[in-house]
Structures are given as structure tokens and as C-alpha cells.
Symmetry: C2
Subunit: 501 residues, 2 copies
């Protein structure tokens, strides 16, 4: 069985044993069993589910086995939620049973100083050839197969009796995420669900005694539905392995990394958190640059970049044009483009000439500003947007367009029509476009979502749209440096399936 | 009549004439009249409303006068929405009628090269002593008095017949905003409405031939309900006046400025947009620093800072502590604190000793990290949060606290109880606290809103909570430098009225 096949077993096992299944609805051993059973009932999860608990005969209608060894059929995967000191024992049982992939949720290992116990677990895994995710982690979530070991309570109750979804799962999508922090990983899922960003696979690997970021990168590179790999990291233990694998992977798929602990104070905090020295940030930075990893610096930027890289093709260069109906937002975008060392490009003479002609003919308003940033003003219409965007994407001096659509103006009577018309233009070219729609109104949120549905990523501020473009520019420039950009663009395809409700 | 009294007339006139009232529902002259009439019907707007249109006898049930001069009673304020070339004529009428405050919505002046026409308008205003906001602007909105000249369509229609709110007005609140860009100002209102950030007064002054940012600062400093003044600027024409006034104002109220056009490309764009040279950004930067203006660099940061400055007291220094239940988010906060040149402070020996005692007694979990950032882990409870926050706010080495509340953990069974308990702690001290709640789930959004309701500003990422704190630190340090901080804090009072639905 290849390494990739074993990793696949985590997400799509033939059978899964919940070791430490519990009758107490507050306990992870209950929540996990319940979620798995529900996913199977809903027809998503195909795996057989077994409960292991020597003190119970039945939980949630499922028969309990005293040990995984007592299960009469083959079991290839297990999730362990027993107290730390029993983990070696049940892991040995897994080994004897022939279980190949084990998620250890249990905490109480090196993160609180129990280094020897962790070492014992590692040795058992090695002896039996078991691949382990964890311990001290949230485990995994796969939106397509329904594998789900996230044990946090699904809802919070309010005093008036209402129950609010507290730990939502994002819709199926194109992003796979690896998080060294469980809490942050879960918060990230919450964020993605709220923003309508789809997920493919999620892994929180905690103390990573075995499966690490490099193993997962190797797996995700060939995972069909993964278009972007997202990582929250505090340290990388096997640097050489990471560099070797990441440079290969990023030739095929973009990797976005948020590496925390980049300042002295942050590194100190990371050392307390994940019990490992973070090392000099400049070393990480050099490694990321060398391997084509798109580094981001905060959580919002991480998801903004991920959405852009999942939906849009990488840029051929850093010459960016802005198209707006509001001058102020255009100025803000131009500022951010220059701050990020991209170019507010000059347009070609031909484009300028055509814009002049359009103004003369009254196709666009005569007082529109047609030098980049292009400001078609509050008198803009959907048709002016369409024709201007077409001109810009055709211009050989333009590598990408920031489309600012302040929807308030009367000239955009139908926001649905606008998205349809502009999306046709975008998808008849292979240059990236990111969109800014400012506002929290129903119309603003709807418009952003409509663009997202057409895989044209939309953001609530000019700066965020520009930073998302910056991810596409950096990734394109890496591919170009490695001389694979044209080939990459030739085989690049837009997202196909709808990942939206 | 003092200058401040005239400015007050804009927001709270005795009578307002809509000059250019229209029968066409698509026209600004219709939308404005309709909004004013509705605000009067709802009992918010107290002003008498008159319609002026020589070609109509009645619009929306209101009698039309051929000229403002024909109105039989006194009129102190007018909004002009006639074509540019008729503006001088109707403004003269206003002068003869004794109108003191005029908003000129009409566009078609210096912004498209009609400099002479603009000059003519300015001269008429000067001659009659009329104060003018505009031309080429959105005008004003006052959430308390119901004055509202924003003429953009309120809703957008979808194909299925639904109507989505497109140009919402934020709830009444504590922030007053000045925007040099109309479109951006309107987008900002849309953003505030969505985020639940209240507004007091909003001014879009367009070509600012008369009333400018300095006049408005002078007015807002004594405007009771204005706690924070927000400005979107592309240029300041009268620099000396601004410096003189802003330095006075910011001793009493924080001013937050987003100055766009700070790069070469941005300045070029701003020159096309507002027809004025922006000047070297370093000059602006020096002026802002000198006058205590809190400068921000993007739209999100602008509102994040405004919310923090409206709700929380300024910080006495830059020594910040982080309290979290998720290690990763704590690391991210620590990074951002150091990046912004604040300190992830050491705690005093007494605090450290007390934390040790709490761990020994099992009041907080024994494996909690009690050096800053304080990580009370996923095993945290509301009570652990409460007692830890109290210790931190009491510590003389702590100037402010970043409270990270990842709500997913089982130890926070009631998010309402959590907010109540923590808010009691926060408001028994006078040090600023900003909150991070990550996620887009119902529970995350609800929790953020509950904190906001208690005027403890909450943000969806660690970095945004830290940047909001940074605004409080910078403002506090300015007050300190000017030796007025203790006095300021002594008279500082929390927000009193609820500004939430």
C-alpha cells in the first residue's frame, strides 16, 4: 500500500472504529460517533462504523465491542478518543487488528510535557506500520466523503431557547486545509462556512508524531478536487523534506501558508503552544519563496488568497488595471497595487484610442477617466462595464483586472444581469479578475455571492480585492520563473461544479 | 449666527426646500423629497419640507413653488438638484430668500472642467453669506434628525421579484463621517449598516467650494453625540487651517483619517478624481502625526478603529496582553502586536504568582500558559475567562487586553452569560479591551454583536482586534504627549444609549 493510499484511507476508509465511543452527549466519543452515523444515514459516508467501549454494550443504536480486535470484520481506520494513558494499549490493538490509519484525538502528550508517553505511541505506530494523525488534534473533515472527527458541540443554546449553529461545516469545495492548531482550524471552518467558501479536506494534526504537512502535500497534489492547499503552521520539523516536496507540489497546485510565530513575541508564544522552536522567520521566508509557496500574513488574507487561487488563473505578470464606478475606491485600489509592488499599468495606445472613440460616440460617458484606473463614474451602466472590461482584458499590457462594482448607482438596475454579462467577458479570456463590492447590505452581499458563484472572487474592500490579485501575481511569477507558466495556463480549467447552496 | 450654528442648520433646519423636486421616481429630486417626507411622517424629521419646481404644481402630495422666493414662510436650508447651469440662478434666489445652508447635489462643475461655473456659484454664495456643501456630492445624512439628501435608489429588484436593500442607512450611533468621495461615502454607509456600526452624521462634500473638513471638525468637536470623527480624504486644500483645527479637536475627540492617493499611482488617480494635486504623502503623514490624527490605511481598518475609539477609552501605553482559549490565535495576535511596534508585555510578578496559585488550586487548568499570551486552552470555562481577565486588567504592567474568545469549546455553554460576566469585568476598569471572535456561523456573529452591544468592540480575526487596539494606543499616546491623558480619562464615559436594533 503506497503512502498516498494510506492517507486516502483516513478520508475514505472501508470501515472506521470509534475507540472510546461514549454515552455522554458532552463527550467527544459521543459527538464523533453521532456525526459519523448521521453522515452515513444521509448517504454521504459509505464507511462501516463500529463503536469500541469495553464498558458499554450499545451506544446510539450501535453495538459496542470491548476492543477493536473483537470486531468480526476488517477495519482499516480508527479514531481514538480514550484518555492519554490508555492510548498505547488501544493502538497496539489496532496494530494487531491490521488497522492502517489512526486519528488520535486524545490530548495529554508532549504538549503538557508527557514526552515519553508520546514516544511510546510513536514506537507502537512504527512497529505495526500504522499511519497516525495527531495526537492532541481535531482530526479530519472531508466534505465529500463525510469523514468527520470534529468533536466540538454543533450548537449553542440561547436563553430564549434558540439554538445557534456554532461549529458549522463548510460546503464541499476546492480548498484543502492543514492546520497545526486545532482551535484555529475549527475557527477557520466556521469562517469558511460563513463566507461561503467551500472545503474539500481539512486536517488538524496536532502534535504530528507521524503524518505531517509534507505527507499531506504529497497526497493533495494528486487529489483531484483539491485546487488550493492552505496551511496554518507554527513550525516545520523536517525542513529539507518540506522544501523538496513543496517545490514539486507548487508547480502543479498553489500552496498558501500562514506561518505564525514570525516575530519574537509570536515565536515565544508558538513555543508554548506547540512545544517546538519556531526558528528564525527569515529562514522560513526564504524557504517559502524558493518553493513557490504564497505566504500570507493574516487570516483574512489567507482565505482571500485561497478563494482567488481556487477560482482564477495565475497572472502572467504584475501589470494591473482597475475598472471602477467610484473614483475614491479606484484611488484606494491604485494605492494598494503600488504598495504591494505591482504596477498600475499604462494601457496600450490602441486601448486608449478605443476608449476615446467610445467616449466620442457616447457609448461611455464623456467625462469618464480612461487612463488606469478607469473610472466610468456614477453614471456607469452595465453595458459600459461590459465594454470597458472587454477592452482591458484584451490589452496586452494588462495582466489582471480589479473590478470595482459599487452597486448603488441607478445604471445597474439588475445585479443578476450585470454578473452574467461581466462573467461572460471574464471567462472569454484567461486573465485573472478579482472583484470589490463594498457594503453589508442585502444587495452587496448578494452581488458578492453571485460573482463568487461564477468563480470570480469578490471582496468587500478595494484593498482585499487587490491583495487577492497579489496572490495570483506571485503564483504566476513563480510558475514563470520555473518556466512552466504557459503550460500551466494551457491546462488550467475553471471550476466546474457548483459548490454553492 | 456663528459658523457652528450655520453648520447645525444643515443637519437640523427649521425648513428645507428641495429645489429641483421631480415627479420622476428615478430622479434624485424625487428620491430626496420622498425620503424627507417619509422621515417626517415617521416623526424623526421635524423640519418643514417645501418642493420647488416651476413646471409642476404638486409632487408626492406636496405643493410646488416656482421659486424658493415664492415660499410664503421662512426657509433656512435648501438642497439643490437642478442641472449645473441653472444652479447660479436658483442659488441667487436662495440668497434673496435668506437661506443660510445649501447642499448642492448637482454635478457638472470643476470635476468635468467647468471651473468658471463653479467660481460663479462660489461668488454668489459669498455675496449672500450662504454656506454651501458641494457641489457634486451626496450631501448629508443625520440618523438622529432624519435629514437625508442621499439620492441613490434604496433597493435593487431581483428577477424572482424580491427587492434587496441596496442603499441602507446605518442605525443612530456615535460616529460622524466626512467623505470626499460620494460613492465611497455611500459604500461606507452600506458597510456600517451591515456591520451594525451606528452613525451620527454623514457628510459628502464633493468639490467643497465652501464647507470643508476643517469647518466640519470644528462643528463636530462640540456635537454631543459625535464620539469619533471619520474622514475619507484625497486632499486637503487649506493645510494650515486643518493643522490648527485638527490639533485642537483631537485633544477632545479622536479623528480617524483614511487619506487615499498616498502612492504615486494613487495620487495620479486622485488628481483625476477630485481635480486637485494631492501633494507629497510624507507631508500629510507629518501633519497627521503632529495633530494626533489616527491614520489608517484601508477601509476595514478605518471602521475597526472607529468602533474601538467610539466604545473604549484610549490606552495609557503600548503594553498589551492577550487572553485566549486557542494557542494559534494567540500566536497570531502576538505577531501583530509586535509588527505594530506595541509590546506583548511581561506580567507583573504578583499576577504571575496569582496565576500559579489558580493553577495549583485547579481554578484554571494546570496546563494553561500563564505567560503572555495567556492561553487558558480549549478546556477553558467562562469562569476561567472572567478571573483571568480580571487579573490582567488589574496588572499595572498591562495597558490593554486582546480578548480572544473562540466560542466553540464546551466550557462556554452560554455565550450570553459569557458576555455579561466579561463585560462586568471590562467596565470595572478603565483600560481598553478589544475582542476577537473568529467565524461566520450564527453563534460567532451573535457573540460579536453581543460584545458590541456592551461597547466592547469585537472583530472576526486576531489581527483586526490588534489593529483596533493600536488605534487606542496611538490616540492615548498622543493625549499623553500633550499632557492631557489623565484629565481625558477622568472625564471619559462609556457609551450610554443602545444603538442597536
Amino acid at each position: 500500500m503506497s503512502a498516498a493510499q494510506v492517507i486516502e484511507t483516513f478520508f475514505n476508509p472501508y470501515a472506521i472504529a470509534v475507540i472510546g465511543a461514549s454515552r455522554d452527549p458532552e463527550k467527544p466519543g459521543y459527538v464523533i460517533l453521532k456525526n459519523l452515523l448521521e453522515n452515513r444515514k444521509r448517504g454521504i459516508l459509505k464507511s462501516r462504523i463500529y463503536a469500541v467501549n469495553p464498558k458499554a454494550t450499545e451506544i446510539l443504536g450501535v453495538k459496542c465491542f470491548p476492543s477493536v480486535k473483537d470486531i468480526p470484520e476488517a477495519v482499516d481506520s480508527a479514531v481514538i478518543v480514550v484518555p492519554a494513558k490508555i492510548v498505547p494499549h488501544v493502538l497496539k490493538d489496532c496494530g494487531e487488528k491490521g488497522v492502517k490509519a489512526v486519528v488520535i484525538i486524545s490530548a495529554g502528550f508532549s504538549e503538557i510535557g508527557n514526552v515519553e508517553l508520546e514516544e511510546e505511541v510513536r514506537n507502537i505506530a512504527l512497529k505495526y506500520g500504522i499511519r497516525v494523525i495527531g495526537p492532541n488534534c481535531l482530526g479530519i473533515y472531508d466534505a465529500y466523503t463525510g469523514m468527520d472527527t470534529i468533536f466540538l458541540p454543533l450548537t449553542k443554546k440561547l436563553r430564549d431557547g434558540r439554538e445557534l449553529i456554532s461549529a458549522p461545516r463548510p460546503e464541499p469545495g476546492y480548498i484543502s486545509m492543514i492546520s497545526q492548531s486545532g482551535a484555529l482550524g475549527n475557527a477557520a471552518l466556521d469562517y469558511m462556512a460563513g463566507e461561503g467558501i467551500g472545503i474539500n479536506k481539512f486536517v488538524s494534526y496536532g502534535n504530528k508524531i507521524d503524518v505531517d504537512e509534507s505527507d499531506l502535500l504529497e497526497y493533495f497534489v494528486d487529489d483531484e478536487k483539491t485546487r488550493v492547499i492552505l496551511m496554518y503552521l507554527e513550525n516545520i520539523k523536517k525542513g529539507r523534506k518540506f522544501i523538496q516536496i513543496a517545490s514539486q507540489v507548487s508547480l502543479k497546485k498553489p500552496i498558501v501558508v500562514l506561518k505564525a510565530g514570525r516575530t519574537k513575541a509570536g515565536a515565544r508564544a508558538a513555543a508554548s503552544h506547540t512545544a517546538a522552536l519556531a526558528g528564525e522567520d527569515s529562514i522560513y521566508d526564504a524557504a517559502f519563496k524558493k518553493t513557490g509557496v504564497v505566504r500570507v500574513y493574516d487570516m483574512e488574507e489567507m482565505f482571500d488568497a485561497a478563494k482567488a487561487l481556487a477560482y482564477q488563473p495565475p497572472a502572467r505578470g504584475s501589470r494591473i488595471s482597475v475598472l471602477t464606478d467610484g473614483g475614491g475606491a479606484g484611488v484606494m485600489a491604485a494605492d494598494e497595487i503600488e504598495v504591494l509592488d505591482m504596477k498600475v499599468t499604462e494601457l496600450s495606445d490602441e486601448t486608449l484610442k478605443k476608449f476615446d472613440e467610445l467616449k466620442r460616440k457616447g457609448v461611455i460617458v464623456p467625462f469618464a477617466v480612461t487612463e488606469n484606473p478607469i473610472d466610468i463614474t456614477g453614471s456607469a451602466t452595465t453595458e459600459m462595464y461590459r465594454i470597458s472590461l472587454e477592452l482591458l482584458l484584451r490589452d496586452p499590457k494588462v495582466d489582471g483586472v480589479i473590478l470595482i462594482a459599487l452597486h448603488h448607482i441607478p445604471g445597474i438596475p439588475s445585479i443578476e444581469e450585470m454578473v452574467e454579462k461581466l462573467s461572460e467577458v471574464v471567462w472569454s479570456h484567461d486573465k485573472p479578475v478579482t472583484v470589490c463590492v463594498i457594503g453589508g447590505s442585502e444587495a452587496a452581499a448578494f452581488l458578492r455571492r453571485e460573482f463568487d458563484k461564477k468563480f470570480i472572487p469578490a471582496y468587500p474592500s478595494p484593498e482585499r480585492a487587490v491583495r487577492a490579485m497579489y496572490a495570483l501575481v506571485r503564483y504566476g511569477m513563480y510558475l514563470n520563473k520555473r518556466s512552466v507558466l504557459s503550460e500551466y495556463l494551457k491546462s488550467w480549467k475553471p471550476c466546474e461544479t457548483a459548490m454553492f447552496r
